[in-house]
């Protein structure tokens, strides 16, 4: 008895959650119910029906449903229900045989191939490919020609023929799981291969195996019935589902009814297996996925009134005015009452940690709130028109008024088209020029973002570019419509620091050349300092401070800004601990009524429990802190 007990205890809830997830799904419960019922009914068939499958009553043939024969009788007056149930036995047996072979081969080979790798992997993969290419049904027919009526041989063969699919899936998944860092950690921890397999790999594969087994079982049921239908299954007079359909097809003229009892159990069983497979997969995905932010449990209240929804007049100078923007995702607000302006040619930074709503704000401006999100309040005025009011305005503005550059350059371009074609499409779209002119202009754009040999780059596909080049290409794409505002969402986060410097330099020079404004989303104070004129600091979906960058860095007027600035290792004193902000950003749905930072704030007092409005302690800067006076007085930041 070692820590194994810990392990065992630990493993139970995970498996339990899969089962629980399954039982929460109505489809899965119905399916399980049917399969269970079917199994019980077939096993206990003699108890369910008084008629034997071979008992004939020549005086009541093809009766249709009656009191004595619930589903009616066949041509020889045999009870259909009884024949269905007894026939179900051969179906279940066939499923069991095929699935056992399928799993035995599939799991063993898939695991071995994926986990052990090497020559064995090569051998297994090749063999699997070969078997995969076999025309399955034809092989089955040949086998049945050799062993007439021997369904066992057919089903074992079918298990073999089906297994490459499972091998491939399990191999791929094993490879993937094997690369998970926790497996590496387990290796470092000195766990043996069997231990790692048992603790980390197999549990991850269980649901896949169940799903595949269920789907395969569904196919087996169909095939087994098909063979019965072709007269290649269980020899008459033994009942089989396929044979019943064949019998029914012989008497369609006399009694089409028989088609239903003969076929429906088959259909329902296969569907049930399919539903079960889907449900297991869904439940597994749910069990393994990181938690989705839980929707607010509390009854939704009107937005805090004290904080007020901003209804100020837009700054007529502003290129873009965001006014009281509130975005909800799945009914939970993730951005609340955000307001700021961007002037012509200005660079505005939006700073904050992840989960503070920076990206959602920028996407909200473009009307691209992800998933089931929506803008639930507020306005976005661009050059005087309200983008939230009309989708057509928004569509017109996108690309030509406001352009967008995303965080991951490698996935920001369509991987299936060359860079040039995508750029040309954007150019053609915005300028309406011909294809040829667009191509030329596309190369110009690539030259403008300082890509060496722009023509060659235009001919490449995105995967042939380095990260820096891809980001330049993405910027070129954004420039295609000659936008007045560029929204850059963490444009350098994914890049190496030297490449970041180049991209930042490029943005700066482009801005100088074109006079476009930039809305820069970032979490990096250095980037803010490097590029921005003003900055908006966001915390937990709100704007907490807004100021000119020089003032913000030298004299932050919100404790969060101050804390974040201090936590930056740049400012660290060697040998001394970094100043930290305790705790973490509360997720949407867990926001307190009052100051959202209060729980992590050294200055917090009872006063912070009430909603805090934005105040303007100095001209052109705002903050959301009840203790702003103290901060102003202290006049210090670090």
């Amino acid at each position: 008895m070692t820590d194994a007990s810990v392990a065992t205890r630990a493993a139970v809830p995970a498996r339990g959650s899969l089962v629980r997830g399954l039982l929460r799904r109505r489809g899965a419960v119905l399916s399980l119910g049917w399969l269970l019922l079917l199994t019980l009914a077939t096993v206990a068939a003699p108890l369910v029906t008084a008629h034997g499958p071979l008992d004939q009553d020549l005086n009541s043939v093809l009766t249709g449903p009656t009191g004595a024969h619930l589903l009616g009788t066949d041509t020889l007056g045999r009870d259909l229900l009884s024949r269905l149930l007894f026939g179900g036995r051969s179906t279940l047996l066939a499923v069991a045989e095929a699935v056992v072979v399928f799993l035995a081969i599939g799991v063993t080979a898939g695991l071995a191939s994926g986990y052990l790798g090497g020559r064995l992997d090569w051998l297994i993969t090749r063999t699997a490919d070969l078997v995969f290419a076999l025309p399955g049904i034809v092989i089955i027919l040949v086998v049945l020609a050799v062993f007439p009526g021997n369904l066992h041989a057919a089903m074992v063969t079918f298990g073999v023929i089906g297994s490459p699919g499972l091998i491939r899936i399990l191999r791929a998944q094993t490879l993937r799981v094997r690369e998970e860092l926790y497996v590496a950690a387990a290796r470092v921890a000195g766990l043996t291969r069997p231990q790692i397999l048992r603790r980390h790999i197999l549990p991850r594969l269980t649901s896949t195996v169940i799903v595949q087994a269920a789907l395969f079982a569904a196919i087996v049921v169909t095939i087994q019935a098909g063979l019965g239908f072709l007269g290649l299954g269980a020899p008459a007079p033994a009942p089989s589902w396929g044979g019943l359909v064949a019998d029914a097809s012989q008497v369609i003229d006399r009694d089409p009814w028989m088609l239903l009892p003969a076929g429906l159990p088959l259909v329902v069983t296969v569907v049930a297996l399919g539903v079960l497979g889907d449900a297991v997969r869904d439940a597994a995905v749910e069990a393994w996925a990181p938690p989705v932010p839980a929707p607010a449990r509390r009854p939704r209240r009107p937005m805090p009134t004290a904080a007020g929804v901003t209804t100020r007049e837009p700054d007529p100078q502003a290129l873009l005015s965001v006014i009281g923007l509130t975005v909800e995702i799945g009914g939970t607000p993730v951005v609340q009452d955000v307001s700021f302006d961007i002037r012509l040619g200005e660079t505005l930074g939006v700073v904050g940690e992840s989960g503070c709503g920076k990206s959602v704000t920028s996407l909200g401006i473009l009307g691209l709130v992800p998933g089931r999100g929506r803008i639930s309040a507020g306005h976005v005025l661009f050059q005087g028109s309200d983008l939230t009011a009309s989708p057509t305005t928004l569509a017109r503005v996108r690309g030509s008024g406001i352009a967008y550059v995303s965080q991951e350059p490698m996935v920001a371009l369509d991987p299936t088209f060359t860079v040039g074609r995508q750029l040309a499409e954007a150019v053609a779209r915005h300028s309406g020029c011909g294809r040829k002119a667009a191509r030329v202009r596309a190369v110009d754009l690539l030259a403008r973002v300082n890509l060496p040999d722009p023509a060659a780059v235009a001919a490449r596909h995105p995967h042939q570019l380095s990260g820096g080049m891809a980001q330049r290409a993405a910027i070129a794409l954004a420039l295609a419509g000659e936008p007045r505002l560029l929204i850059a969402d963490e444009p350098t986060t994914a890049l190496d620091v030297t490449v970041q410097a180049e991209i930042l330099g490029l943005l700066r020079s482009l801005q100088t050349e074109t006079g476009m404004a930039v809305l820069l989303i970032t979490h990096d104070w250095g980037v803010v300092a490097d590029l921005c004129d003003r900055a908006v600091v966001m915390y937990a979906g709100q704007v907490v401070e807004q100021a000119d960058v020089a003032a913000l860095f030298s004299r932050p007027l919100h404790p969060y800004t101050a804390g974040l600035l201090a936590a930056n290792p740049h400012a660290a004193v060697p040998g001394e601990p970094l100043p930290t902000i305790p705790g973490t950003v509360p997720p949407p749905g867990a926001w307190p009524d009052g100051c959202r930072f209060a729980a992590r704030c050294a200055l917090a007092t009872d006063a912070c429990a009430a909603p805090v409005p934005l105040t303007e302690p100095e001209p052109d800067r705002t903050t959301r802190c009840v203790h702003v006076d103290r901060l102003v007085q202290e006049g210090t930041s670090r």
Binding site: Y182, A184, A189, S466, V497, P569, T584
Partner: protein
Amino acid sequence: MSAASPEPAASCVGTRPTEDRPAALLDIRELTVEFRQGRRTPPLRAVDGVSLSVAPGETLGLVGESGSGKSTIGRAVLGLTPVRSGTIRFEDADITRATAKVRRELSARLQVVFQDPYSSLNPARTIGSTLAEPLLVQGRLTGRQSADRVAEMLGRVGLPPDTADRYPAQFSGGQRQRIAIARALMPGPRLVICDEPVSALDLSVQAQVMNLLAELQEALQLSYLFVAHDLPVVRHLSHRILVLYRGQVMETGPAEALYARPVHPYTRMLIAAVPEPDPGTQRSRRAARRGGPLSAGPLSAGPPSAGTAAVTDRGCAFAARCVHALDICRHDRPLLLPVGAPDRSGPVTRSAACHRASELLAQP
């Protein structure tokens, strides 16, 4: 119980390496690691003749950009990546190609913290089970003992004891990284490979974890091989820094000295590229840079793998991007040689692999 209580190395008396350099805990000589890239293309040399050592209680920072091979070195030490040539010695034993059995024994003294706090914990196992995992190998502990040990370690990294019964999904990135650190510390290791342990974390949480790492080092006399791409982070946590470029060591030296007065042009470029979180400073740096571009050479052409694959044994790996490059730089690979006089932090040797190291040292 011995494995459960970490013992500082007897020879190590402080958190800083002693001046006369006690026997290194980890000693790597001429390490080369290659990855096969299919049948046609030549193998990718991810690590190219790197030598380094980590003293007891010391933190050695490995910095470099993506593709520099910094993480590969850590994985090679851990036995997660096969080594092409060179030796890795740990506690004076050659572990370059240690058998699984040796690795199992080693696991008590050599541990790891990975970058990704999400993939590094098995979502299906409770934190308790994950933390107890390294103890499985020792197999001497009862369930009770190991549960106690788990609780103790959770306390150490600042998490409540009930953490043990919960699942990774219930924790934030920072908390998970604390858990990952706790797992690494469970068997009482002497050296922890920290592979970008804070780069996935938000600023405020990053600071917390960095402080935790520093505290633990002090308390448990740990050595860290600290792999990161963020220079300020590395500087703060490391005693010495090793700068890597395309699998080769460009420069090495004490953290503060190297950061304050970088010698190698690549180090300089790296440091210069990090924007200062101060608008004023940043403005002047930018102005200064306007005279000479940050990188004079062509931009990295082609995807990173294509670029790094083209490592030749001739010439300096950085020559193509170096503003100071001479002809010799393109033909002769510079050796990693000591540079300069002892600076104020002590008579610690600094080295750089640059033909013009002394010139550059003279004119910062």
